[in-house]
Symmetry: C3
Subunit: 269 residues, 3 copies
Amino acid sequence: MPGGDTPFVTLLTDFGADGPWAGAMKAVLWSIQPAFRIIDVSHSVAPHDIFGGAFMLYRTYKDYPSWTIHLCVVDPGVGGPRRPILAVIDDHYFIGPDNGLFSFLYQFGEVSRVIAITADHYFRRPVSETFHGRDVFAPIAGWVSKGIDLTRFGEPVEDYVKIPVPVDRLVGESLVKGEICAIDRFGNLITNVRLETLRLLAEQSGKRRFKVLVAGQEAPLVTGGYGQEQPLFALVNSSNLVEIACNGRSAAEALGLTTRGKEVGVMGV
Amino acid sequence: MPGGDTPFVTLLTDFGADGPWAGAMKAVLWSIQPAFRIIDVSHSVAPHDIFGGAFMLYRTYKDYPSWTIHLCVVDPGVGGPRRPILAVIDDHYFIGPDNGLFSFLYQFGEVSRVIAITADHYFRRPVSETFHGRDVFAPIAGWVSKGIDLTRFGEPVEDYVKIPVPVDRLVGESLVKGEICAIDRFGNLITNVRLETLRLLAEQSGKRRFKVLVAGQEAPLVTGGYGQEQPLFALVNSSNLVEIACNGRSAAEALGLTTRGKEVGVMGV
Amino acid sequence: MPGGDTPFVTLLTDFGADGPWAGAMKAVLWSIQPAFRIIDVSHSVAPHDIFGGAFMLYRTYKDYPSWTIHLCVVDPGVGGPRRPILAVIDDHYFIGPDNGLFSFLYQFGEVSRVIAITADHYFRRPVSETFHGRDVFAPIAGWVSKGIDLTRFGEPVEDYVKIPVPVDRLVGESLVKGEICAIDRFGNLITNVRLETLRLLAEQSGKRRFKVLVAGQEAPLVTGGYGQEQPLFALVNSSNLVEIACNGRSAAEALGLTTRGKEVGVMGV
């Protein structure tokens, strides 16, 4: 059984923290697999915000053990023609609608296979047209945890849906370009700039200290956490991504940012 | 043991998602019954909104296995004379205050028995006057899961409290009248019109296609989920209730509705 | 093993109910200790509000069985010099940053020992600078539950950080002074006045009935829960603290209070 005697399953949805849908999914999960350790990643993805869900999944899936099953439901097209899929990426399972929700993983992870789920005898009956989280995805997660051979759920596909994903990149030898992909509860600005890209920048530029350019301001890249002297700074966060923060204050507010998408640059000092 | 080796218990309260009360109830539940699978249905019923809690319970309890124990606490009268009750309806257990919280179930379910809980030796000691969720209802849920004979908790009663519940109804042969009973996170309008009433309408009227009349507008009843061409439409949702929705937008906003209670009609086209 | 076969661990943080951080902590907890019963106390402490977290912890920890492990992360200084600590107080474990988060417990509980955690071979590797909840505190909680001798985590310390904690006190023989320390979801005002201080007041003053003075108004101390006749009243809540409430309405609103800190008095009538 994947995960040994303690299979993990996570839930990431746009259903809202107020219920009642996540509970219905858990009922299905535990009915099939009583040993599941069920973990809510978030139910607060903005309604229908596929990009937001995709980025949150990307920055958190490695917090879970290998062979964790990630049940992801941001699914505006539920009940329509979009396919349910099961992806195996970086030794994790991902189950959800084929609408681009796994795009960051396709971009940055090692995709072993993506299966279009067609074996509807595994579904909960009858299948509603509005809640495949309960009727399609949760049952499949349960059966995957039971060790059912993945080929029995459907055929591998190559034409799975990808949404545009911003990729951090080295421009010349001295600049990394990226963008703000999320704003967290504390007002910290989470970018798509990866630690490994910073390492490449260090190598190419010969620099050892860096600053982040954002919204016309400069934030030095520091170590030592959020308790800094300077008002605006940047650090490498717990997902190994560059994050812009303020000491004791919301960086989003300080910079007048309310939405993601703003470009950032990183260069040596 | 009800539920076999994996007894399910759900929590539905108006305590808020911010804690800390639900946690205290879980501590009691697991102290008595370590095997419990505890599922949060919602803690975001509006404070003291018995109707809101009752309708949410009604539309979600069938998502859980038979003999699930539903622990429901919307309890403005806690510490006063209102009774704690234990109801067996449609092969599910419901535990909570006798204030009408189970009224939709009394109306639409098969009520096996309702017991006024008096066996206070099962309670947590001392019993506070403000938190029977922890001190009365959670312990009873624990002991019910242990297979204690229900007669030991108290006497059956017939005079349990019912609040007025709007019942969808066929008017003549060609119209079903109902009302909006909840607005969800996506702005979808959830009515009390049941699939079975629609079937009756189809039978009586000979029609096969229907529309919903709401707030002076018409919403065709469609299949295929939320990804529709037309701006306003209706569908049968995952609780088998008619729901009014907009494509990519809040129907509540589109119709200028902010509260439940609005009447709707369904008729053939 | 502390807690026998069913070790309890609670989470109290300022991470927000929207995720994804609490999930990452649970993954670590269950990876080390699959038998954990994990309970979310709250993730909605206001960002960086150490006092708010400390008071919530104080009023709820006794809802859990002895030897529960309380994982508490309100940690503005994460990644800086502040120490991680493990405290044993009133036969409960508390793990978190040494920033005063346990101050109410130091004040009112029986402190057995406080250990500054230095045994970093128990940490998750690599240790990030921004998320010790996942990398330091959760692993320690896991290993504590395994029965590792506490001395192996680090040395006992006496100089742990305390923030100022308001202590309710008898002034003369006829007045107790306290203050509002939290406002709950229902608008109830939770004070720091303890039941035991009320008992002392009763003894000293010879009175049997009391009233609470707050914001220029008087609230009689009543029994019988929230369903009272009078508009403003006070009661002893489920944490054995005096709480000011309104019948069917927010007391905070009624009194025009939006923040904690307001002084209250209790005297005989």
